[in-house]
């Protein structure tokens, strides 16, 4: 199924490119501050591009990052910063960072933009523990968060929220534990062919998956992504300028965000009130994305699907049109998402098994694949989808290997 639609013009199509990628080691305890990690990743991305800190005039970030654009510029010694932006919180950020960078470059506000994410997600701020919740008395919610409807009940984490969604998918479509396991196993297989992945050297069988302890029914430990320390950064500039730089450019073919049909106020928890709890903003994002990109899901060589949980992958494969609504479980069980399948996903191991850099390692991995530099390279990869966190809204990018 190809949805090529040449009538739809997207002014940004292939006009900007990722020209540098950088990452730190991915660990369970970096022993360093997040600014130090962000700085290392950014310097590596600049070196990869053959650019210097003097070239940096724009920085964009995820709103959850502790590091601000101006602090990163200060640490880098980037004295020419003239553009910065913040996407707001969550895993939805990295793909929209590509949109911010594209807008900055095409509007002439910046020529060389760094997008980054840096977190000590294991040694400092564990999202799986509900963030940095104290143990004393606490009054929660208000100020537009709507957390007062959820946290006092004990609904505190993304894992519990996605568990509630998973049960609906099981009730409505018959999705099984083994189907969830197929997602975890595909990611683990890829990590075992990616030396820097945290779970490299740790093969996992379906029995291993099923034997992992329940965290929040019906989700087990291995339905959850890793918690890890590390940073990733990429450098974006115009495609025209990219041709003169060190590495083969990977163009940003299209970017799109999208809201769910039944959007609710608040962040993640209010998904429980959506009429259809398993319907994502990714569907609207995908419909726009494919039109803007002039290609469809079947044209993708690889896909980096935001995998905070196994169910997230299944829901997004449905939302972005790789399979029909409710068919995600059978689709992943068929082997389609494995390295040898029709749409290999998370080819570095993803959040499940490479590292949790809040969606930014997915961007880096897409660029590696399209340069032909990945540890587990998919032969002839030309187009990669990257998706952002599934709640509360959707975000997505198509990257293309430059002609």
């Amino acid at each position: 199924m190809s949805l090529i639609d040449d009538d739809m013009t997207f002014a940004g199509r292939d006009k900007t490119a990722v020209v540098g990628i950088g990452q730190t080691d991915f660990t369970r305890n970096s022993g360093r501050g997040v600014l130090s990690l962000a700085t290392e990743a950014a310097l590596k991305a600049l070196a990869d591009a053959g650019l210097s800190v003097e070239d940096v005039d724009g920085i964009v970030r995820c709103g959850d990052d502790v590091v601000t654009p101006y602090t990163l510029a200060a640490s880098l010694g980037a004295k020419n910063l003239t553009y910065w932006a913040d996407t707001g919180p969550g895993g939805v950020a990295p793909c929209m960072m590509m949109g911010l960078a594209m807008g900055a470059v095409l509007s002439g506000q910046a020529k060389t933009v760094i997008a980054f994410r840096s977190l000590n997600g294991r040694s400092e701020t564990r999202l799986g523990a509900g963030g940095q919740r104290g143990v004393g008395a606490e009054i929660v919610g208000g100020r537009g968060s709507y957390d007062e409807y959820f946290l006092p009940y004990g609904l505190m984490t993304a894992g519990q929220t996605f568990a509630l969604m998973t049960r609906r998918h099981m009730l409505e479509y018959g999705t099984t534990a083994e189907q969830l396991g197929a997602v975890a196993m595909a990611c683990r297989e890829n990590a075992n062919r990616t030396p820097h992945a945290i779970m490299h050297g740790k093969p996992m069988s379906m029995d291993d998956y099923l034997a992992s302890r329940m965290i929040s029914t019906p989700l087990r430990l291995f339905d959850f992504c890793l918690e890890s320390d590390g940073a990733c950064a990429v450098v974006i500039t115009s495609t025209e300028r990219a041709k003169d730089l060190r590495k083969p450019p990977v163009t940003i073919r299209a970017v799109a965000g999208g809201a769910p049909l039944d959007a609710r106020a608040g962040m993640m928890f209010p998904v429980v009130s959506r009429h259809d709890m398993t319907e994502l903003g990714g569907r609207a994002a995908g419909e726009r994305l494919w039109k803007r990109a002039g290609v469809g899901p079947s044209d993708m060589s690889v896909a980096q699907i935001y995998d905070c949980f196994t169910i997230s992958v299944i829901l997004q494969l449905e939302a972005y049109g790789f399979c029909g609504k409710g068919e995600g479980g059978a689709f992943v069980e068929s082997g389609a998402i494995r390295a040898t399948g029709s749409i290999p996903i998370n080819t570095g191991g993803g959040h499940m098994s490479e590292a949790y850099v809040h969606g930014m390692n997915h961007i880096v991995q897409a660029v590696r694949q399209l340069r032909g530099e990945a540890d587990m390279q998919i032969p002839g990869a030309e187009l990669s989808l990257v998706t952002g966190g599934p709640l509360p809204i959707g975000s997505s990018v198509v990257f293309r290997k430059a002609a």
């Binding site: 208000g142 409807y149 946290l151 006092p152 609710r264 429980v272």
Partner: protein
């Protein structure tokens, strides 16, 4: 049950929900023009674009939509296992609310649920849900 995590009851958009709960009443935000409800509550109605919304009292019955039994403890005041339930109000499919049951009860999608009010202190109560006719 003693929770150290208590809701902010003074938010301008949601405060009336907790004020009603403290009086043993369950309310939700509904639009008088189109009949839809909003949850979380908003003064503006996104369904029809109007502003004619108000708090309306619910009967306190609903249906179980989904649930999860939490077995990995992350907060000392919320000992596991406990079960989070999502209940859809009988009045409208637009509103689903949270509840919490002790342990890992056997539950069925769509089963009838009823509200009760858990006093957190003299001024604050949480609407909670239990299977209809089953004691707390």
């Amino acid at each position: 049950m003693s929770y150290s995590i208590q809701p902010n009851t003074e938010d301008r958009e949601t405060g009336p929900f907790f004020a009603a709960a403290a009086e043993g009443r369950l309310v939700f935000r509904v639009c008088n023009d189109c009949g839809h409800a909003t949850q979380p509550p908003t003064e503006h109605c996104p369904w029809c674009g109007g502003w004619n919304t108000e708090w309306r009292q619910a009967q306190g019955r609903g249906r179980l939509h989904t649930w999860t039994t939490v077995t990995h403890q992350i907060h000392p005041d919320y000992p596991t296992p406990f079960t989070l339930v999502v209940v859809e109000l009988d009045e409208t499919p637009d509103v689903r609310l949270m509840g919490r049951l002790d342990g890992a009860p056997v539950l069925t999608a769509g089963q009838p649920m009823e509200v009760w009010f858990e006093k957190l202190n003299d001024d604050v109560a949480l609407p909670q849900w239990r299977p209809l006719g089953r004691p707390v």
